[in-house]
Symmetry: C2
Amino acid sequence: MKQEINIMDVAQLANVSIATVSNVINGKGRVSSLTEKRVRKAIDELGYAPNLLARNLKTKRSGLIGLVVPTVKPGRLKDNPFYWDLLAGVEEYARERDFHIILSGFDEAEESFEFVKERQLDGLIIVGTGEQSSAIDKVLALNIPFVFVDNYLMNPDLYQISLDDRLGGWLATKHLLDLNHRKIAVHIGDIPLERIHQFGVLHERWNGYRLALEEAGIAYDASLMIQLPTSIEGGQEAAEWLAQHSDVTAIFSFSDIAAIGILKGLKERGIKVPQDKSVIGFDDLYMTAFTSPPLTTVSQNIVVKGIAAAQLLFHQIENSSHYSRKVVLPVELKIRETTGWLSKD
Amino acid sequence: MKQEINIMDVAQLANVSIATVSNVINGKGRVSSLTEKRVRKAIDELGYAPNLLARNLKTKRSGLIGLVVPTVKPGRLKDNPFYWDLLAGVEEYARERDFHIILSGFDEAEESFEFVKERQLDGLIIVGTGEQSSAIDKVLALNIPFVFVDNYLMNPDLYQISLDDRLGGWLATKHLLDLNHRKIAVHIGDIPLERIHQFGVLHERWNGYRLALEEAGIAYDASLMIQLPTSIEGGQEAAEWLAQHSDVTAIFSFSDIAAIGILKGLKERGIKVPQDKSVIGFDDLYMTAFTSPPLTTVSQNIVVKGIAAAQLLFHQIENSSHYSRKVVLPVELKIRETTGWLSKD
DNA sequence: TTGAAAGCGGTACCAC
DNA sequence: GTGGTACCGCTTTCAA
């Protein structure tokens, strides 16, 4: 009913064998241009479209790649525009190659990746959950091309896309230091500081922060690490913290979304940015150019990240060699208006 | 290599026929619990996962549904967090039923939906392009279950999910009128007013606006319709327009993203909200609760929209009857702080 | 240059 | 309860 016409119908109409039709479709074998014309005509007339299930069953390729993203609430995709941008990049690249994307949420606990085998996916892109993922071994066992995004896995054999997070952390901190700030708080997110090394992205940004401090001869002060959720609300709480610490003149948030909350929280408390406190974020979300004041932040191009991931994946799928298994994408400091010079006392 | 073990291997190990293995997997036919145990054990030991390509080839179902969203730049998914929320809803519902989502951008011009037939998709969700889509006929010709989201198609046979846009328009306008505003501008988006009827969503919001006006005995004034892009930048331009029209005391933007721009533009010009101008948006993006001041807006739940679309689609796929082919989701006015009482002169 | 036929890995009907 | 086997729609030898 759904798919009534098949290669047989075409063959009959064109008065050839199904093998010939197949050859025409795939441009293989020798087919006289006359026959080809007849076949093409038949295809058109019938509105025939080959059944990829059948084709793929035979060829062992599915033309499908999986994009696995973390979920927050069980069963629901993580609520962050970041993923959409990433998806856009992957989809764009894949579509040009006639691949499609299957998107799947990932419940850390009970994900078996069965669907990858079941659907014969040709490749897999796994987006970091923040924490060292328990999924790695499962993914390796699948024995198909894959790419990890933002995962910071210490295995050199794995294909990985990441950001120059450390440089980002360094740039942000350096910028603040150059503006004469000395006590710089860091909003790291809702994780215990002792476990930050498990969260590659955060850890690297934090390393960049410490490095810049060290270069400036300033001692690292763990009491300046604010452990609050990466959300607008978390940012607002961080603002409260700032209000209570008048000696702290600047804050570096590892995420724009929280920086937005910080800005808002400070404003509500009558604390002026950047006169009283400087604020710097990370990500360069579309919105942040339009906060008031516009947010100074470390910028990354997420769509490009998606494209890069797809690229690295296809290098494997197509067996083209790649110079490296790790791709580190650049960051850029976008100085806008939430950071300002601190006059000495 | 990729998928080495198949149903035969399981059958051999368990010392049964492949038919029996199939029965166990699908819970069909009578299988003695002893045999079943043996088979399950073999499956476990081998780590067997059935090849869905083969199964689906036979059963004519793919367990796949397509989500088609518009693209902006050719080849790139539309840059709007809205779609991610929608996707989250669809994915959640589908996953519970062991379906997967194939996501595809949609180039108005040259989309043939071939992939739907090729991949034997079981259903299709098409998200509105704003304009009456040229895709309708193509989709109908596919002869598979489908749902249009936000498309306002005038064919009663089509399954459609939409929002109570008209009520939203009415609520927003009524709210402004109740606050004593009389000259209310509307930022409709970057389309000529003459063609607004082609854009269902906008048209309905606009209808709601006119209705509220009419009920209040106020004449509609086309010169109050601002035709600028639906973007932050467009909103900023709208603010400029407002600055030049001091008799206009309120503005209703059909989109939060533009409302954010309006807020920003007004602030830059020293125009106070809501003292000088009232602003109201539409969508209730996550961000808008955190603008300053927090934006009054018409709220919709986009994840629920995705779930509703999936639901309607599965009603068709599973052949369960549904009371209606059209589902209209509710809106809600969220009064925050950008709208205020207008003292008479 | 073309066609016959053997799979790909399952499902499901029908015997036993 | 269990197994034999004819498909599903296509690709791919191999022969003609």
